[in-house]
C-alpha cells in the first residue's frame, strides 16, 4: 500500500453495521417469517421492505470509495448526488477508532479523523476490517505528521521505532460506578427510579400509568447513564510516540489519539458531590469547529474526557503532562468581587507563567482551566456596569477550542489592564518560540 495507489472500498458489511438498531429490528422482523413457517404470501410486504433496504445499503457501499492521495484523504460517496471530499491530513486533530457492539460482532471498526478549522468536518471511514484499521491509522498519523513537518526522513525513522506506550492512568471501575451514581445524570436517574418505586408501593395502578406516560423520560435518563458507563469503562490514558492514546469502553470500544501540540486547553472539573471524595475529571479541548449539520451531540463536542474520574493527584499528574509549566500559585480575586459573584467568589483565582495561564472558577463545582499561551487566539477585557461600580474587570483568553474558556473573572480593573498587556506580550513570545 503506497500513497496514491488507487481507490479502495469499505468493508462490504458496512451498511449492516451502520444500520445499527435498524439492522437488529429487521432481523427481529425476519425471524418469525423464517421460523414460524407462515404463509409466504403473508410476509411479502415485509420482505419487500427488507429487500429495498438491503439494496439501498448495497448501493451505498458500492458508490463509496476512498484513497490516500499525496497528503490528502480523498473520499467519494453518493449515487445521485456525487460527493467528493478531500481531507488534508496536515489538519488532522485526532484519529479515533470506534467499535460499536455490532461492529465488534462483524470484526470491523470505524476510523474517524477529526479535522481542524472552522469549516473542518469529521472524515469517517465506516467500516473497515478490524485488522486493517490499526496499520491505517498509524500510516495516516505518520502522513499527518510528515505533511506538517515536511521531513519524510524523520517520519520513516519514527515508523521503525517500536511504538512504546506508557500507561498514565486507568479508570477504576468501582470509582467510575460511584462517580456516575453521584453525577448529575446519575442522581436524576436515581430520583426517577426511587419515585417509581415509592409510587409502585403506594399505588401500583398509578405507577403503571406513569411508566407508560413517562416512558421516554425514563429510557432517556437510563440511556445517558448507561452510555457514560459503556463509554468510559476501563478507559486508559497512554502516552505514545504519536501523542496521547485513549482506550476504553465496555461494549462499544473506542481508541482515540490526541496529537501533541493540538491541545488548546486543559480543564479539570470537580463536581460538587465529587469534592467530598476528592475526585476530579480532566478534559482537553481541541481546535474545534462550528456545529455541523446532522451530527450527533457526541461528535459535536470537541471536548475530550481524558480522565473520567480520578483522584486530584492523578488529575494534576495528567495536567502536568499536557502543560508542563503550569502556574503553581494563583492569586485570588479581590474581596469586593463577592458582591458581583457571591457564589463563585471563593473559587475565583488566576495565575500565569511565561507559557501558561491558569484560572479557576465555578459556583458549586470547581473548574480549573489551563491554556498554553501559544494557543491563545485573542484576548478581551470586559467591564460590565456592576463591575465598573466595584472597580473590577474580567479578561478572557480566547482559544480555538470550543468548550474551555479561560476567564480572569472579576479582577481589579488596573490589574486586568496590566494582565491584558502582559498576557498579550507573553502570548506573542510563546508564539514566536513555538
Amino acid at each position: 500500500m503506497t500513497p496514491g495507489d488507487g481507490w479502495q472500498r469499505l468493508h462490504p458489511l458496512s451498511p449492516v453495521v451502520r444500520g445499527g438498531r435498524f439492522t437488529i429490528g429487521i432481523a427481529i422482523l425476519l425471524v418469525p417469517i423464517l421460523f414460524r413457517g407462515d404463509k409466504f404470501s403473508n410476509a411479502v410486504p415485509q420482505l419487500v421492505v427488507v429487500a429495498v433496504l438491503v439494496a439501498g445499503g448495497f448501493v451505498s457501499w458500492l458508490v463509496t470509495r476512498w484513497r490516500i492521495e499525496g497528503d490528502d484523504l480523498h473520499l467519494e460517496t453518493g449515487l445521485l448526488r456525487r460527493q467528493s471530499v478531500r481531507f488534508p491530513l496536515s489538519q488532522v486533530q485526532a484519529i479515533d477508532v470506534v467499535r460499536p457492539g455490532l461492529a465488534r460482532m462483524f470484526r470491523v471498526a470505524e476510523l474517524r479523523l477529526r479535522m481542524a478549522g472552522a469549516s473542518g468536518a469529521t472524515a469517517r471511514l465506516a467500516y473497515l476490517p478490524e485488522r486493517e484499521v490499526e496499520p491505517l491509522r498509524d500510516r495516516l498519523l505518520t502522513l499527518a505528521r510528515g505533511a506538517r513537518a515536511d521531513e519524510p526522513a524523520a517520519t520513516a525513522e519514527d515508523e521503525q521505532a517500536p511504538a512504546e506506550e506508557k500507561l498514565l492512568a486507568q479508570v477504576d471501575t468501582r470509582q467510575l460506578v460511584v462517580s456516575i451514581l453521584i453525577s448529575d445524570a446519575g442522581v436524576f436517574a436515581e430520583l426517577v427510579f426511587l419515585t417509581l418505586v415509592i409510587i409502585a408501593v403506594v399505588s401500583p395502578h398509578a405507577a403503571a400509568g406513569i411508566v407508560t406516560g413517562g416512558f421516554v423520560w425514563i429510557i432517556g435518563a437510563f440511556t445517558v447513564v448507561w452510555r457514560r458507563f459503556n463509554q468510559l469503562y476501563r478507559q486508559q490514558v497512554l502516552e505514545g510516540p504519536d501523542g496521547l492514546h485513549l482506550r476504553g469502553g465496555l461494549i462499544a470500544l473506542t481508541a482515540e489519539t490526541i496529537r501533541p501540540g493540538r491541545v488548546q486547553a486543559v480543564r479539570m472539573v470537580e463536581p460538587f458531590l465529587w469534592q467530598i471524595a476528592g475526585w476530579c475529571r480532566v478534559e482537553v479541548d481541541l481546535a474545534g469547529r462550528q456545529r455541523g449539520k446532522g451530527e450527533g451531540a457526541s461528535e459535536r463536542g470537541q471536548m475530550r474526557t481524558l480522565l473520567p474520574v480520578g483522584s486530584r493527584a492523578l488529575g494534576f499528574e495528567l495536567v502536568d503532562r499536557l502543560v508542563p509549566d503550569r502556574p503553581r500559585e494563583l492569586s485570588h480575586a479581590p474581596r469586593r468581587a463577592l458582591w458581583k459573584s457571591p457564589l463563585r467568589y471563593r473559587k475565583l483565582a488566576w495565575g500565569h507563567t511565561d507559557t501558561c495561564v491558569a484560572t479557576t472558577s465555578g459556583r458549586l463545582r470547581r473548574i480549573s482551566c489551563w491554556v498554553p499561551l501559544e494557543k491563545a487566539q485573542s484576548l478581551r477585557r470586559v467591564e460590565g456596569p456592576i463591575q465598573r461600580r466595584l472597580n473590577l474587570a474580567s479578561v478572557h483568553v480566547d482559544t480555538a477550542g470550543r468548550a474551555v474558556h479561560a476567564t480572569l473573572r472579576d479582577r481589579d480593573a488596573g490589574e486586568a489592564t496590566r494582565a491584558l498587556d502582559e498576557l498579550a506580550e507573553l502570548a506573542r513570545a510563546a508564539r514566536r518560540a513555538a
Binding site: 487566539q377 456596569p385 478572557h396 482559544t399 491584558l420 498579550a424 506573542r428
Partner: protein, 172 residues
C-alpha cells in the same frame, strides 16, 4: 493622516497600554448615521400619532407623540457616547479594538492569528460611504468588529491587516 482623536471625550478610557497607542475612531459620518437611525423612527412614529390624533381628536395620541419625540431626544446622547466608545489601534503585533459603554470591551487580536477579514456594508452604510470591518480568528469568541469606517479607510485597513496577517501567520 491621523483622524481627529476623540479619546479625550470618551466616557470610559482604558489606561494606556504599553507603548504609544494611537487610537483611531470610526468616521464622523457613522455618528450622523446612528443619529438618523434614532431620529427618523421617532419622527415617523410621532407624525403617525399626530395624524391619528388629528383624525380621532384623542389627547392620548398627542401625548404618545410627545413621548416618542422625548424618547428620541433622550437616546441621542447615548448614541453619541456609544459612537465615541468605538476605537481601534494598530500596534506592531496586534490590533486593539475597543467598544461599548455599558459593557466596555477591549480586544487584542494578534495579526498572526487572523484567519480572514470581512468588509461589509449594508444599504444604509453604503449610502453614507461607510463599511464595517470584522476580524475572524480560529476562536469563535473573538469579537473584533469596527463599524462605520470610511470606505477607503476600510479598504486600507483590510489590505494592511491581510498583509500583516500573512507576514506573521501562526499555526493553530
Amino acid at each position: 493622516m491621523v483622524p481627529p482623536s476623540t479619546l479625550g471625550q470618551t466616557p470610559i478610557s482604558f489606561p494606556a497600554m504599553s507603548g504609544q497607542v494611537e487610537w483611531r475612531t470610526p468616521s464622523p459620518r457613522l455618528l450622523r448615521l446612528r443619529r438618523l437611525e434614532v431620529v427618523v423612527p421617532a419622527l415617523v412614529v410621532a407624525v403617525f400619532l399626530v395624524v391619528i390624533g388629528a383624525l380621532s381628536g384623542s389627547a392620548w395620541a398627542y401625548g404618545l407623540a410627545a413621548a416618542a419625540v422625548a424618547a428620541g431626544l433622550l437616546l441621542l446622547p447615548t448614541v453619541g457616547r456609544r459612537y465615541r466608545s468605538w476605537g481601534y489601534a494598530e500596534r506592531q503585533d496586534d490590533l486593539l479594538v475597543r467598544r461599548g459603554v455599558l459593557f466596555a470591551r477591549l480586544s487584542v487580536v494578534p495579526y498572526g492569528r487572523m484567519q480572514f477579514i470581512d468588509v461589509t456594508a449594508g444599504p444604509l452604510e453604503r449610502s453614507f460611504r461607510l463599511a464595517t470591518v470584522r476580524l475572524h480568528t480560529a476562536a469563535a469568541a473573538t469579537d473584533a468588529r469596527i463599524p462605520g469606517l470610511d470606505r477607503d479607510e476600510a479598504a486600507r485597513l483590510r489590505d494592511r491587516l491581510a498583509e500583516l496577517g500573512e507576514a506573521q501567520a501562526a499555526g493553530l
